[in-house]
Symmetry: C2
Subunit: 270 residues, 2 copies
């Protein structure tokens, strides 16, 4: 086990262990996992990352994610940060962690971050996609990342309704599983839309942050709209209601993917 | 076990069992399988289809595929035909077989075909895609269906070289594992090209039919061209050489997908 004893003479002349903050762009197939966050005895993304970091650096390191994805939810662009005494350059965190991580989790890039960088509080927005396979039959090449729905959906109606999400709203009616623990349920939606890509229907949404189950409860409503079982007016009323539990049903987790997290400045280069 | 004793009075007045020809559009994730064709004691697509047909109809039915995909190769649009005494309408073959088939194989559509329809000999052309993930790191969301290559590929050079494939050529230099069993190694390539789609590089080729390993040996050459290790002239010489075994190396099977098989008339509707 190597412990860095490097000292930054510019800041402090007394001997102390310096740490650096590393930011990882992480992609995963969430199928096998009980979500991002550590849970005793269960496979989670956090546990796998921390196990790989331990193997790579020899240290027990706690990672923080921009978004706590639920069980079964995938990520193309999860952002994770941690502090380490290791002096490895960021590129070695990419290759080293990918060596130790299981095949369904990968570090796509690693960067050194400023000390004041906050991976959760510092994020300007999160972007999610929800994939619906709108087909009379299942598709083995797409089933892992898309929710199969055989009844024909009215994409225009879904897209039109989704525009009502844009702006600042109290989204408490779309939260579930929170048990009154959240103080502030107002969120700002920057973008929302529904489009077709072949057999897939893709719902895209960007907001400053999201309440638990918010995207999947929105999708549950949009599916009802697409099937003609809910009107845009009813959807609008749910958004404005401020009443917990009105939205849904919660769409299945495997259709959801965290696409990207945006920060005030990008992480191009190292 | 039900045996149909229906007789077509228009054709033959003597009592006999009539059969109908059914054509299936089949999609599969080939990861778990030793290719399409039946092999004793090994999981194959053919075995799964015939097992499901036995469960659905009660009869032992032999299926024929348009293309014998190799171990690990995927299909979005494999075409399979068989004869059956069953009087089930085609739509019931879709839903019934999907009920019995494993999750990584699905019937996307079923149609009744004329008696003279030949799924192999009657096909005008086959279209394949080969997917290369050109990235310094692996991608859990794409790794199942794309071959990872971290060194940067010159897509323009690959695309330009691929144009030399178009037309009629003796492709024996691209065949492998045939042991001199093929009498005719001349094939007609109708389309070929290499393009980028995000991190993916997609090689698409359409030909009347393909020799064993032909597409993967072409891709092996194109990768060498993309890395600057083979010139377009050398590639051209291999095409014109008529010498077995010159092309390659054989690219990994999991990047290959049978996209579509074309017939003189389409199978729209039932």
């Amino acid at each position: 086990m190597m412990v860095s004893t490097a000292v930054n003479p510019e800041i402090n002349k007394s001997a102390r262990v310096t740490t650096t903050k590393i930011v990882l762009m992480v992609e995963y197939d969430g199928t096998r996992y009980h979500g991002f966050q550590w849970q005793a005895g269960l496979p989670t993304i956090q546990k796998e990352l921390e196990t790989a970091l331990k193997k790579l650096t020899g240290d027990s390191i706690r990672v923080i994610a921009s978004s706590r994805t639920d069980a079964g939810v995938h990520a193309k662009g999860q952002v994770v940060s941690f502090r380490t005494k290791s002096t490895l350059p960021p590129s070695k965190f990419t290759s080293g962690l990918n060596y130790y991580l299981p095949a369904d989790i990968a570090v796509r890039a690693a960067h050194r971050a400023d000390d004041f960088f906050r991976v959760r509080g510092g994020a300007l927005s999160r972007e999610y996609n929800y994939y619906i396979l709108n087909s009379p039959t299942r598709s083995p090449l797409q089933s892992r990342f898309a929710h199969l729905l055989s009844e024909l959906l009215d994409i225009d109606a879904m897209n039109q309704a989704s525009q009502d999400l844009i702006g600042q709203h109290d989204f408490i009616s779309f939260a579930s599983g929170i048990g009154g623990s959240l103080k502030n349920t107002v969120r700002q939606v920057y973008q929302a839309g529904v489009k077709r890509d072949g057999e897939l229907i893709i719902f895209h949404i960007e907001a400053n942050s999201f309440l638990p189950h918010q995207v999947r409860n929105i999708v549950g409503c949009l599916i009802r709209i697409g099937l003609g079982r809910m009107s845009q007016d009813e959807f609008h009323s749910i958004i404005e209601s401020g009443k917990p539990g009105l939205a849904g049903p919660t769409a299945p987790s495997h259709g959801l993917c965290l696409m990207r997290v945006n920060y005030p400045h990008s992480f191009e280069g190292e």
